[in-house]
Amino acid sequence: SYIIEERSFLRCEDLVYGRMSFKGFNPEIEKLMIQMNSKCKEEEIEEDDKMEADVSDEEMARRYETLVGTIGKKFLRKRDQRVLKDDDEDDEVEEGNSNTRPSKRAKKMFLKPQD
């Protein structure tokens, strides 16, 4: 049937943890008290975490946007790095050395000999 016999009061009543400390007498036990009693009230704590974030979500997104580029540049090969630099400079300085630029810009690929 659906009746269970139980001899422990712990399952029936909602009792708190037996070890307690007040006014900072034992800081470890005070931490434990919060931890133990928060197992029952996990929902409230989840909400608090969102409020207490030091860095807002927007800032995180912006930071990551530029971060990916920065870290990505670190792993470029040497030739690709020059290409990148040229791209940046090109935006500012349009004139000058336009002859060498296209050849440098095109990656040196294998040219099949025409037979």
């Binding site: 049937s1 659906y2 009746i3 269970i4 016999e5 139980e6 001899r7 422990s8 009061f9 712990l10 399952r11 029936c12 009543e13 909602d14 009792l15 708190v16 943890y17 037996g18 070890r19 307690m20 400390s21 007040f22 006014k23 900072g24 007498f25 034992n26 036990i29 434990l32 133990m36």
Partner: protein
């Protein structure tokens, strides 16, 4: 001999019941219409299993009272009924956190006195971070806060000082100094209730540390001996004081 007619369990919640009283439960806990009725009438009948707590025993369609006290009911989680009785003698129950006193070391096992009929055993490996080479530093006469892992009337009770995930979470040897005394089990449960007034009022007085064992033992430690003794006296007396008298006593103390 005429059988006693039982009374409905819900009617007696919060009233005194005596051993021998039969409590009738609503029909959806019957064994006959078990499966079908529970599935069909999902709205009316509470799903889940009924917990028959200490002081009650299952008998046929109802619950038989075995201890005198107040009948309590908890509606959440399938419902639970139990009898809130008063006693001083502790009977080891599995899962209870208790304070034990080490009385002997027998090889790999410590014998603890928990106030029951038999001394409980505690293996030296049942502490956090204990290995065969790294033994816990436990001597005869130490106080240990642990929980029962085996406790029934046929076997010797066994205790451990770690929980199921292997962490100690506050259990283990209770430190030096402090004062251990015994109270009745009902008071312990009252003190362990969430938002207990006595504990809240006491916490405003001095900084102190408190360990409550379900076997009726309380350990208190405060900065000076006098403060410790004051807290001990309040805890011992608050069982028989009304809340008014308790507030007066505490006001006198905090005025001093």
């Amino acid at each position: 001999m005429a059988a006693e007619r039982g009374a409905a369990a819900e009617a007696l919640v919060g009233q005194v019941v005596l051993p021998g009283d039969l409590l009738l439960l609503p029909a959806h806990y019957d064994e006959d219409a078990e499966g079908e009725r529970l599935r069909l009438s999902a709205g009316a009948a509470p799903q889940g299993r009924l917990l028959c707590g200490p002081g009650l025993r299952r008998s046929g369609a109802g619950l038989l009272v075995t201890k005198c006290g107040l009948l309590r009911h908890r509606p959440g989680g399938g419902g639970a009924y139990w009898v809130d009785s008063q006693q001083k003698r502790y009977v080891p129950v599995q899962g209870d956190h208790v304070i034990g006193i080490v009385t002997a070391k027998a090889g790999d096992v410590f014998r603890l006195d928990v106030g029951g009929s038999e001394p409980a055993s505690l293996s030296y490996l049942a502490f956090e971070g204990a290995t065969k080479r790294n033994r816990p530093n436990v001597h005869v006469g130490d106080l240990i806060y642990g929980q029962f892992v085996v406790a029934n009337k046929d076997m010797e009770p066994e205790m451990v000082c770690i929980d199921s995930s292997g962490k100690s979470s506050g259990m283990g040897i209770i430190g030096q100094d402090g004062f251990l005394f015994k109270v009745s089990l009902g008071l312990i449960r009252k003190l362990l209730a969430p938002k207990c007034e006595i504990i809240q009022e006491l916490s405003q007085l001095y900084p102190f540390e408190l360990v409550l064992g379900m076997n009726g033992r309380i350990w208190v430690k405060a900065k000076t001996v006098q403060q410790t003794l004051i807290i001990v006296n309040i805890l011992e007396a608050c069982e028989h004081m009304t809340s008014q008298q308790r507030k007066q006593a505490l006001a006198k103390l905090s005025g001093n």
